[in-house]
Amino acid sequence: MARPMQPAALTRSVPRGVADLLAIQTRVGELVEDLSKATVGLRIGNGAGSGVIVSADGYVLSAAHVTGTPNRRVSVMLSDGRILPGHTLGLNRELDASVLKIDVKGPFPFRRLARPKDVRTGDWCLALGHPGGYQSKRAPVVRLGRVIRTESGFLQTDCTLVGGDSGGPLFDLSGNVIGIHSRIGPPTSWNFHVPIRAYTESWVKFVDGVAFGRRNRVRQPVLGINGVDHDLGCTVTAVSPNLPAARAGVRSGDVIVKVDGRGFEGFDSLFNHVQNKKPGDKLRLSIQRNGKAVEITVTLAGGRGP
């Protein structure tokens, strides 16, 4: 079966001028209210996050790190101000997926799940959620972006997320749920979502309240900086304390011009270089600091990947 039919303006890789942009805007405008109604805030113990109602009888998708173990009490905050009781069901720790149920008779406003194979790199998408935590006088916050990467374990978009969004929905421009907000990284384009297949492939387990999947313990190489592109490479904008870059003396404001003796283009390129290393590997950074050349060797640490 083909993907749901969409006007060409919504699927072109580059909008052909203002008419296409207007078409995107019109579609987003048509969707926003209904998407907001299905987006909920969650409070679980001392934790808070977001979720999305996906059935009239009140099944809610969220993220495993928000909801935790099965059978916990949840307060579900709807966009109309209602606060309803619910309880957590199953979770997949590996993919950070979870499901819960509202314990009140519906019907509730809900959105359908997209078919996993319909999600493609380049699709326009909308992120809703409660950044910073649910606020009763603020509707779910809307962000537009594109699918940057589709992997079996996660989706990446440039819909900016922050704490409190976790568990909230990522929608396609048909208004179907294509992902659930999970994690972020330093650049604003590092927003990671649980792919919808995590839910569709194991739906029965979730409903049965099964906790499954192991948190990924594979250690990934960590440098510990944030940066922006620079003509010569990248500029370090932040150095995380107690991580390798900080320990080796990399400073905010440094311009990294070479890695292991080779030039590179931009922060993403540096990231890809690190990606191909292992924890414990050494990285030689050629840095310009206040007009002086500085050479720093960093030993990469290990951490958890997206």
């Binding site: 987003v28 922050v162 990284g185």
Partner: protein
Amino acid sequence: MIGSVGSIGSIGLHRRVSVWLRLLVVVLLMAVVAAAAPPARLPRDLYKSGTAIRKAFRPVVVAPSQATVAVLVDGRQRALGAIVGSDGWVLTKASQVNGIHGGAIRCRLKDGTSHSARQVGFHAEHDLVMLKIEVTGLSVVEWQSEKDPTVGSLLATCGPSELPVAVGVVSIRRRQIQHLHGFLGVGFDDVFGGALITRVMPNSGASRIGLTVGDVIIRVAGTTIPRGRVLRDQIRKFRPGDVLPMRVRRGQVEFDANARLGSPDEHVPNRSILMNKLGGQLSFRRGGFPNAFAHDTVLKPEQCGGPVVDLNGRAVGINIAREGRTESHAIPAQVIVGLIADLKSGRKFVAPANRLGPVDPPAVPLAN
């Protein structure tokens, strides 16, 4: 009662810390995906604010970019600005160009020329300043002031350039934005008739004016300080960047001092600030706006102050702050239009120190 270094002027923050500690998001710090086969990635120029997408907005910003300037302080871009009068009137974000920096201000137009500017009108609450350059025949911003853009509307942030600086959508309709508390940077203890300084944080407003352990703050902004709590409440009425006048007793001597308050995020690292700074610097003044809508355009602090336009090229507001990882704030055009004449006339809306009224007591015990 015992105050602490972190507590002064940052109570709201403490409360936020407690909330934030409960918000469970895994923050990746340069962590990395499995180094398997390179996955199909969207090319960077196709990202929402990538070059190819911004090119689609080119017709939208043809006119408004003529009415946008780069505001330079001592030769560096500190903000963008909106031309609101053809004879050289430019509106921009006040805290980016005055006070903190205090250098020579110039406006660079789209034609590349740059002109010396003087400050005329000022509005503290909205953080706006009216600049005047001696040029005539300029293009002016055309406002869409009848109604605010609806949530989901596409917006382009103009620069004095062919393509928009960045694009986004309206995320939150207009509302009041709470202010950040100013931060003096002292720890204090109660003594009879004042607040005894027990700690001074390096690089804080207090350390810059030379306050030292043992000094007693006895009056702040005209209010006598009988005990520490009163000092804290007074500081909380001010914002980062505000100047706090105070009277200090050191031994047998009393003297007056003016401390410029800092921002708590410079001094009290916490998870909220860490996460919100993932992706770039935030505006120093990013709260305390009576009216602003939020959009998801990723801006730098020096890209605020200029017009943000709808798909008709009409300005729906002035970008006033980079607030967090997910949000930039804009003051709606309707509000701006109502201020222009007053600000051109040179009025200075300097809000009184007690403008913010009573503040709630802290929700959590103070640290230490």
